[in-house]
């Protein structure tokens, strides 16, 4: 995993911004924030509501903010 991901999981998610998530840079982060997914925990919520299904979550992320496969996988 990337250093960014290791940093992220090293402490509670709390109110971390969505850009703290591995694979989410400024451009994707901005799009997600505009859609209301401004905090990492909201994106986590979406993953849980998609039953932790990585395929569905990846497809959702690509659809709503144009993430590519690598970013979505991260």
């Amino acid at each position: 995993t990337s250093q960014k991901h290791r940093d992220f999981v090293a402490e509670p998610m709390a109110e971390k911004p969505v850009t703290a998530l591995a694979g989410i840079g400024d451009v994707l982060g901005k799009k997600l924030e505009e859609l209301g997914f401004d905090k990492a925990y909201v994106v986590l919520g979406q993953f849980l509501v998609l039953k932790k299904d990585v395929e569905l979550f990846t497809e959702w992320l690509k659809d709503i903010c144009g993430a590519n496969s690598r970013q979505a996988a991260s």
């Binding site: 919520g45 979406q46 509501v49 998609l50 039953k51 299904d53 569905l56 497809e59 959702w60 659809d63 709503i64």
Partner: protein
């Protein structure tokens, strides 16, 4: 197909089952994704 948006969450859920599309609950933040997947399956 355009009628999907007029269907209830329950109807969407049943259609997803009919088409064998794995899914979780139909809520505001997941409905668009599931409607898209249904359109693809129906096409």
């Amino acid at each position: 197909m355009s009628t999907l948006s007029t269907k209830s969450d329950h109807e969407i859920s049943e259609l997803l089952d009919d088409y064998g599309i794995k899914h979780g609950p139909i809520v505001g933040s997941t409905r668009t994704l599931y409607e898209k997947k249904l359109k693809e399956a129906m096409a």
